[in-house]
C-alpha cells in the first residue's frame, strides 16, 4: 500500500493547471496555466508574493479546494496517475500516505482536543491498518526523529502544551508518519522565530534526504528556497513566470519580475551603497483586474507597448540551461548584466547630538501564577527588560534585534509611556520621562516620541477616512489653528509618505497593506516626531512593498533628522539601514555596537547564531550553519547565569561552568562595542565570520 518502488518517472507532474474560485460576483482565476515537474528526491520551491496563488496550487494537488474552488483545466499526475479523475476513496488512500502536507500555522493544524500521540498514530492506522500499540511505537520513533525532547511525554500532551516550534515539529512528524513520497510544505516557518525557523528547515532538509522524499516547498522567502530546494518556480499573479534550477534562476535570471524581486530584498552580504534596494513600482493586480497581455506589464521596466500587452505570453525555454523557462517576450533581448538604474544616492546626515539616553532601565512585570482562577497563588516576576543602557543620537538609526519574547516591544512601550519603568531612567533631551505615563506627558513630549506599528491592519480606525485620522493626530498634537490649516498639513503629510492626495478621502479598507503602513508613518510624523520607534514596520508586508516602505522611512529620516529606533528580527534589513545595532535576548542586551562591529567577528555567541539563521538569497554567500538546540526559554523562569546558556555552543569553553552560575557583566571590546559574555578576548578573537562572500 505504501511507496511503490518500481516507479521511477516524475513524482509529480503538473501540466497547464488552471484553478478558479467561484464567488457570487465572478469567477476568480487564481492559478492559470501552471506547469511543474518534481523528480524523485527533488525539492521544488515555489515563491511569489501573497495572493499569487501558491497555496492554491498546493491545495489543487491535494484536490482539496473547498466548496467554491475548482480545477478548470490541465492535469496533475502523481506517479503517472491522473489525480483530477480519482475517486474520493483513491484520493483518501494517497493523502497522508503518499502525499503529505504541512501548513503555515502549526497550532491551527493540530486538533486541540486530541492528544499528540493519537493524532500521529492515526496516520499509519488508517493507511497500513496496523494496531494502535504498533502505531504508537512508530509515533515515538518519528517524534525522536524530529528531535523533540522527551518524546514519551510529548505523545501524551495536548497541542496547547507545546511551544510553536515544537508544534511545527509535530506537524512535520505527522507528515512523515507514513513515509510519503511527496511532501508539500506551505510556508512552514513563517510563524516561527528565525533561529527556530533555521532549525526546522534544517530538520526538513535532513529528513527529506533520509527518507528520499520529494518536496514542494512554498515560501515567499527567496533565501529559504535557496537553502532548501534544487529547483525553483517564481509565480506572479497566478502564473509561473520563471522556472529552473536554483543556480540558473538566482544567477542568470531571465524574467524582469524575478530580477525586480531580487533587487528589492536586502542581502546581508552586499554593500548598501553599491546595491541599494529598488522597490517594484505599482501594486500587485487582483485576479479579476489583471491587464491584458503580460500580467507584469504595468510594473515592468522593459515593457514595450503594442507587444507586451497585445498577446498571451507563453512560457519559453531558455536555451543552454537545463529545464529553464521564462514567460517573457523580451528575455533574449534584455541585457541581464546591466547594472540597475539607481536614483542618485543622497548622503545621510551624520549623527548629531544625543537626544535619547537610557540609563539602567529595568521593567519587571508581576503576573499571577494561575491567571485563570486568580486571587490567591503566588506572584511571579517576569523580567522583561534587564538593565538597558544606551544612547541614541539625532538622525541615527538604532536597530534593536532579537526573537519573540526578548523584550523589544516592552522596551518600546516604556519609551512611549504606555508602561512605566520599574527602575532606571529614560532621558529625552536630559529630561527624565521614564516614569511619566503617557497621559501625564506634555503634548510636546508625546509628539516627539512616536511609533509605527507592526501590523498596519489593526492600527487604523476602519470607519474613518484616512485624511480624518491624520487630522485627528494633528489635533492631538495641537498642530494648526483650525481645520483648514490642519487639512493643508495633512495633505503635505500625504505627499511626504508619497501617497496621492486623493487618498485623504479613502477608507482604510480601500488601501493595500503597504499604503496603510504609509498612513501609519504619516500619522507618526504628524507632530514632527523626533524619535520614531518602528516596531517591525515591514514584516507584515510583501517583499516588493517592504523595500518601498523602508526607503520611505530612511528618506523621511534624512529630511527630518529623526532618530529611528528600528525593531526587527530581520538582520538583512537591519544591516541595510541601521547605524548601530543592539541585540537582545531574554530582556538582556547581549551585544551593542555599530553595524559593522556587530556583523563581523568577534560576535556574541547569540548574534553569531542569529546571523547564521538568516536565510540569504545569494548563491555567492557561504554561511556557517549553527543550529540552536531547543526553544527560547520562557521569560517566566529564565535560566540561571547567562540567559543564553541553555542554547550556547561556546559554553564549554568557559571554565568552571561560570556561564550557569553568573550573569556575565557587560564589557567593552572596542570603542562603542560591548558584549555580555564570559568568553575571554582571546577566545572571541578566534571567531570566524559567519557570512562570507565566495571569491568570484
Amino acid at each position: 500500500m505504501t511507496t511503490d518502488t518500481s516507479y521511477d518517472g516524475p513524482i509529480l507532474e503538473i501540466d497547464k493547471l488552471s484553478i478558479s474560485f467561484f464567488t457570487r460576483l465572478r469567477e476568480i482565476p487564481a492559478v492559470m496555466d501552471f506547469s511543474a515537474k518534481i523528480m524523485p528526491g527533488e525539492a521544488l520551491g515555489v515563491v511569489g508574493e501573497s495572493g499569487c496563488g501558491k497555496s492554491t496550487v498546493a491545495l489543487g494537488v491535494m484536490q482539496d479546494l473547498g466548496v467554491n474552488g475548482r480545477i478548470v483545466g490541465g492535469s496533475i499526475k502523481f506517479k503517472g496517475r491522473e489525480m483530477n479523475t480519482m475517486t474520493p476513496e483513491e484520493l483518501r488512500d494517497i493523502r497522508g500516505s503518499q502525499i503529505a502536507m504541512i501548513y503555515q500555522e502549526p497550532m491551527a493544524s493540530l486538533n486541540p482536543a486530541m492528544r499528540i500521540g493519537k493524532q500521529l498514530a492515526e496516520v499509519p492506522m488508517i493507511h497500513e491498518g496496523i494496531s494502535e500499540s504498533e502505531a504508537m511505537k512508530r509515533a515515538l520513533e518519528v517524534v525522536t526523529d524530529v528531535k523533540l525532547p522527551d518524546p514519551a511525554r510529548i505523545l501524551k500532551s495536548f497541542p496547547h502544551q507545546l511551544s510553536g516550534g515544537q508544534q511545527q515539529r509535530i506537524v512535520i512528524a505527522m507528515a512523515l508518519m507514513s513515509k510519503p513520497s511527496l511532501l508539500i510544505l506551505d510556508e512552514p516557518t513563517t510563524a516561527l522565530d528565525v533561529t527556530v525557523e533555521a532549525a526546522v528547515v534544517e530538520l526538513v532538509k535532513d529528513l527529506g534526504k533520509k527518507y528520499g522524499t520529494s518536496m514542494l516547498f512554498i515560501s515567499h522567502n527567496l533565501g529559504l528556497v535557496l537553502e532548501t530546494c534544487d529547483r525553483i518556480c517564481v509565480m506572479y499573479s497566478g502564473e509561473a513566470v520563471e522556472r529552473g534550477s536554483i543556480e540558473d534562476v538566482f544567477d542568470e535570471m531571465q524574467h524582469p519580475y524575478t530580477q525586480a524581486l531580487f533587487r528589492s530584498i536586502p542581502l546581508p552580504g552586499a554593500d548598501k551603497n553599491a546595491r541599494p534596494l529598488i522597490a517594484i513600482p505599482g501594486n500587485f493586480p487582483l485576479p479579476h483586474e489583471r491587464p491584458s497581455g503580460c500580467n507584469f506589464g504595468p510594473r515592468c521596466d522593459y515593457f514595450e507597448a503594442g507587444r507586451c500587452d497585445a498577446q498571451v505570453i507563453p512560457m519559453e525555454k531558455v536555451t543552454g540551461n537545463d529545464r529553464h523557462e521564462s514567460r517573457c517576450l523580451r528575455f533574449s533581448e534584455i541585457d541581464w548584466n546591466a547594472p540597475p538604474q539607481v536614483a542618485e544616492t543622497k548622503e545621510k546626515a551624520p549623527p548629531g547630538q544625543v537626544v535619547l539616553k537610557m540609563d539602567n532601565l529595568k521593567k519587571y512585570y508581576e503576573v499571577a501564577a494561575n491567571a485563570l482562577f486568580g486571587g490567591g497563588g503566588e506572584k511571579k516576576v517576569v523580567k522583561a527588560n534587564e538593565t538597558l543602557s544606551f544612547e541614541a543620537r539625532e538622525s541615527e538609526t538604532l536597530a534593536i534585534v532579537g526573537e519573540s519574547g526578548c523584550g523589544k516591544s516592552t522596551f518600546a512601550k516604556v519609551l512611549m509611556g504606555l508602561e512605566t519603568a520599574t527602575e532606571g531612567e529614560i532621558l529625552l533631551d536630559n529630561k527624565s520621562i521614564g516614569n511619566i505615563p503617557i497621559e501625564q506627558r506634555d503634548t510636546k513630549t508625546v509628539a516627539d516620541v512616536q511609533m509605527v506599528f507592526q501590523n498596519p491592519f489593526d492600527t487604523l480606525n476602519p470607519s474613518m477616512t484616512v485624511g480624518r485620522q491624520i487630522m485627528r493626530a494633528l489635533e492631538i498634537f495641537k498642530v494648526g489653528n483650525n481645520d483648514a490649516e490642519r487639512r493643508q498639513r495633512m495633505l503635505e503629510l500625504l505627499d511626504l509618505v508619497k501617497l496621492p492626495r486623493a487618498f485623504a478621502d479613502r477608507m482604510p479598507r480601500q488601501l493595500s497593506g503597504g499604503q496603510k503602513q504609509r498612513v501609519g508613518i504619516a500619522r507618526a510624523f504628524a507632530g514632527d516626531a523626533r524619535i520614531v520607534v518602528a516596531d517591525e514596520p515591514v514584516s507584515a508586508l510583501d517583499v516588493s512593498v517592504q523595500a518601498a516602505v523602508t526607503d520611505l522611512l530612511m528618506e523621511i529620516q534624512r529630511e527630518h533628522k529623526t532618530t529611528l529606533l528600528f525593531i526587527s528580527h530581520d538582520l538583512s534589513i537591519v544591516r541595510y539601514l541601521s547605524d548601530r545595532v543592539m541585540v537582545m535576548y531574554l530582556g538582556h542586551v547581549v551585544e551593542l555596537g555599530t553595524t559593522d562591529q556587530v556583523f563581523a567577528p568577534p560576535y556574541h555567541p547569540y548574534t553569531e547564531a542569529l546571523l547564521s539563521a538568516v536565510p540569504i538569497a545569494d548563491t555567492s554567500v557561504k554561511k556557517k550553519h549553527i543550529v540552536l538546540e531547543g526553544d527560547i526559554p520562557s521569560a517566566m523562569n529564565p535560566p540561571t547565569g547567562c540567559p543564553f546558556q541553555t542554547r550556547c555552543r561556546w559554553k564549554d569553553q568557559v571554565a568552571g561552568g561560570l556561564c550557569e552560575k553568573e550573569v556575565p557583566v557587560t564589557r567593552t571590546l572596542a570603542e562603542g562595542h560591548q558584549v555580555k559574555c564570559h568568553l575571554t578576548d582571546a577566545q572571541m578573537a578566534e571567531m570566524e565570520p559567519v557570512i562570507e562572500i565566495a571569491a568570484e
Binding site: 466548496v67 493523502r95 503529505a100 491551527a108 482536543a113 486530541m114 488508517i126 493507511h127 482562577f373 486571587g375
Partner: protein, 344 residues
C-alpha cells in the same frame, strides 16, 4: 480545582440567600398574609381578628427576624397569644427550627410536611426530566451534528428549519396539538388511541403509553435550541484547519466527524444543555399541569393558587438550588471537555 469549586459554591449560597429572601418578602406581603389568615381561620374574620391571628402566629414580627427564623439562624418565636395560648414555632425542646435544621414547615393545602411533599414531587419531576433528557440530548446532538456536518446541504436546511419550528412552538401549543393528534380521535380516527392524554398514572407506573406525550412535548421545545447551537458549533469546527489536516491525512469523512470534530463541536452545546435545566423547569410547570402529572411544577402551581406560603418557599428554594447546581456542573464539565482550560 478545589478552590474553584469552593468559590462557586460560595457564590451559589449567596445567590440562594438573596433569591429566597425576595420570595420570602413577596409571600409575606400583608395581603397574602391576610388571605392566609382568612383561609385558615374563617372567611368572615374582622380586621382585628386577622391581626391577632397573625400576631399570635408570629407573622407580625419584623421581616428579617421572620426570615432568620425560617432559615433557622434565629431562635423560633414563642408567643403568648391574646387568647392566652402559648404558641411556638418549634416543637418542644428545640430553639432553632428552620430550613437549615430540616424544618421546612407544613403545607396548608396538602396537610403534610413541606419537606416530604417537595422530595416526593421532586422525585416525580426528576423521573420526567430524566426521560426528557434521554430523548432530547441525543436527539438534539444528532440533529445538530448531521446538519452542521455539511453546511448548506439539503439535510442541513431541512433539519435547521425543523429545529427552528420546534423551538418557536411553546409547550402549551405543542402539548395541545400532540394530545389532539396522538391522544384523541379528534384529528385521526385511531382504532386504538396510541397515547394517553393524561399522565397522572405515570407517577407510579410510567410506561410508553402514558408518559410519551409529556416527555416529547418538553423535549421538542428544548431540542431545537440545542440542535441549533450544536449545528453552529459543528459548522465552525468543520472549517477549522485541523479538520483539513485530518482530511489530508486520509481520514474518511465519518471518522473525521466522529473522532476529530465531535468533541470540539460539543464544547459549546454542553453548556447550553446544562443551562437548559432551569429553563426546562418552566416547561415542566406547564406540561405537568397540562397532563395532570403530579410533579414539582404541578405542586408549585397548587401552592401558588392556594397561597400555601411554606410550600411555596420550599419549592422556590429547591428551584434556586437546582438552577445553581446545574450551572456548577456545567462549568466543571466545560473544563473537562476543553483541555485548554484544564486546571493544572
Amino acid at each position: 480545582m478545589g478552590l474553584f469549586i469552593l468559590r462557586r459554591v460560595g457564590v451559589m449560597l449567596l445567590t440562594a440567600l438573596c433569591l429566597t429572601f425576595i420570595v420570602f418578602w413577596l409571600t409575606n406581603l400583608y395581603p397574602n398574609l391576610e388571605k392566609l389568615a382568612k383561609t385558615q381561620g374563617n372567611f368572615r374574620m374582622s380586621d382585628e381578628a386577622v391581626t391577632s391571628y397573625l400576631t399570635n402566629r408570629g407573622y407580625q414580627q419584623a421581616l428579617p427576624v421572620k426570615y432568620g427564623q425560617w432559615l433557622g439562624v434565629l431562635p423560633g418565636y414563642v408567643i403568648e397569644g391574646s387568647d392566652g395560648e402559648v404558641r411556638s414555632r418549634c416543637e418542644e425542646g428545640k430553639t432553632f427550627c428552620g430550613v437549615i435544621q430540616g424544618d421546612w414547615g407544613f403545607s396548608t393545602v396538602f396537610k403534610d410536611n413541606v419537606s416530604t411533599i417537595v422530595s416526593t414531587r421532586l422525585g416525580a419531576t426528576g423521573k420526567l426530566m430524566f426521560w426528557v433528557m434521554m430523548v432530547m440530548v441525543p436527539g438534539a446532538l444528532l440533529i445538530g451534528v448531521l446538519a452542521g456536518m455539511r453546511e448548506g446541504s439539503g439535510t442541513d436546511r431541512t433539519l435547521s428549519t425543523a429545529s427552528i419550528v420546534s423551538t418557536a412552538t411553546p409547550e402549551y401549543v405543542s402539548g395541545v396539538i400532540l394530545i389532539a393528534v396522538l391522544g384523541t380521535k379528534v384529528i385521526i380516527d385511531w382504532d386504538t388511541i396510541p397515547f394517553k392524554g393524561s399522565a397522572t398514572s405515570a407517577i407510579d407506573d410510567a410506561n410508553f403509553e402514558n408518559f410519551f406525550l409529556p416527555v416529547i412535548t418538553i423535549a421538542l421545545y428544548g431540542m431545537g435550541y440545542i440542535a441549533r447551537m450544536t449545528r453552529a458549533s459543528m459548522t465552525e469546527v468543520m472549517t477549522a484547519q485541523y479538520i483539513r489536516t485530518a482530511r489530508l491525512k486520509g481520514v474518511s469523512f465519518p471518522k473525521i466527524v466522529i473522532r476529530h470534530a465531535l468533541r470540539n463541536a460539543l464544547i459549546a452545546p454542553f453548556t447550553v444543555i446544562m443551562l437548559q435545566f432551569p429553563w426546562l423547569l418552566n416547561g415542566v410547570v406547564i406540561v405537568e399541569t397540562l397532563f395532570n402529572y403530579k410533579g414539582f411544577g404541578w405542586t408549585l402551581v397548587e401552592a401558588a393558587r392556594n397561597n400555601d406560603i411554606e410550600l411555596l418557599l420550599g419549592v422556590s428554594i429547591v428551584s434556586v438550588f437546582v438552577v445553581l447546581v446545574t450551572q456548577l456542573i456545567s462549568d466543571i464539565g466545560y473544563v473537562f471537555l476543553n483541555p485548554r482550560i484544564r486546571i493544572s
